[in-house]
Amino acid sequence: MSDLANCVLPGDLKYHIDFNVWLRDQGDGTFQLGMTDIAQTLAGSVIHCRPKKAGKTIKAGKSIATVESGKWVGPVKAPFHCEIVSRNEEVESDATVLNRSPYSKGWIVCIRPTEEAGDYQSELLSADAALEGFRAYMAKHDLAECSHCDGFEE
């Protein structure tokens, strides 16, 4: 748990503040990507998540998955130019996993940066470095604190 208004930001992940996503370095040149605790709180109960197919290349800032909750819909944006290596079948069949386990079972896609990604690491921040940015993001979106459903896994 970070000291950011009941929001969980695991220390072993990298974050992209504007796109509100996290990345887990798999150590083989690929990254798992998912929604942050802040993103799942803003979305509310997620009912559909549709990641794009493996093999697709996605430009930075373009949609890598579509997430729908009761009345809200939005894209999960690619933080850098990448190819989708695999997608999480579980989030497609039960999207509530994004609310229950945003950092573990709720990973959405596994991606590999392409040549066009350039210096993609410069866009990503550690949990500590992202704290202030996320604080400002929450203020902008009038979000006082993160909320967690029953069975939430940190």
């Binding site: 109960s45 009345k71 819909v73 894209p75």
Partner: protein, 238 residues
């Protein structure tokens, strides 16, 4: 002219900008049938559900627009206008004024001009925009979620958990849907997408919410391509 609210928060917005938006409202073809003069009887306020719960008054719209107070107009355009539920109870006006109709036009002007207030008001309803533009059906049964419809009470949880079964109890097979209000034919969706594209509606959405635009454009591009249309050269359809 001073605004009716002396401490208006929009005093720094140039008068020309307020006038431009005001003129857009008044140039709407429906304008002439919305306002005939108000003698402040208050029947519209008494009938208005929003007036009961918010700092909102339909009578103010009739008054301010008739007075052509562009400063107060700009405040309404950015704030209280979004509290109207568009139920048109106010049309029981004995002078046949239509404050709800004035607000309809004002909201369209706010959307067409990409005003921040329009973006903020629509953010929470992005899926409704997405549904109506991608399928033509506005309300999906699976919107019935406890955190979005707490006013449904405890029943909404049971309904949302067994939605598929509930929907299959509805006789017409076209209503055995959970993600859509009813089955929509592919041909209908193609025609819908062409209309959004050709009328500039898709571009209007881009100015309001880049995220929905991104999703919609992808959905439309895929289906239109399947039917032999190039989304980047859509004018050739005409």
């Amino acid at each position: 002219m001073e605004a009716i609210y002396a401490d208006t928060k929009y005093r720094d917005v140039p008068v020309e900008e307020k006038q431009r938006l005001f003129d857009q409202v008044k140039s709407d073809m429906r304008w002439e049938e919305t306002l005939y003069g108000c003698y402040e009887c208050g029947i519209c306020v008494a009938a208005c559900p929003s007036a009961r719960f918010y700092d909102f008054s339909p009578r103010v719209y009739a008054q301010i627009m008739a007075r052509e107070d562009i400063h107060a107009f700009y405040e309404l355009l950015n704030d209280s206008m979004w509290d109207c539920s568009q139920c048109f109870s106010c049309t029981r006006c004995p002078r046949q004024n239509n404050p709800g109709g004035i607000i309809t036009i004002m909201r369209e002007v706010a959307v067409n001009n990409g005003l921040e207030s329009a973006k903020a008001a629509l953010t929470a309803y992005s899926r409704i925009i997405y549904k109506i533009m991608s399928t033509g059906t506005q309300v999906a049964p699976d919107m019935l979620q406890p955190d979005f419809f707490p006013d449904w009470g405890p029943d909404v949880t049971a309904v949302s958990e067994n939605l598929d079964i509930w929907r299959r109890m509805v006789p017409p097979e076209t209503l055995h849907t959970t993600e859509l209000a009813w089955d929509v034919a592919e041909k209908t969706r193609v025609e819908l997408f062409l209309i959004w594209k050709l009328t500039g509606n898709l571009e209007m959405i881009e100015s309001l919410d880049e995220g929905i635009f991104m999703i919609l454009e992808e959905v439309m591009e895929e289906l239109l391509e399947e039917h032999g249309y190039d989304i980047d050269d859509i004018d050739s359809v005409i």
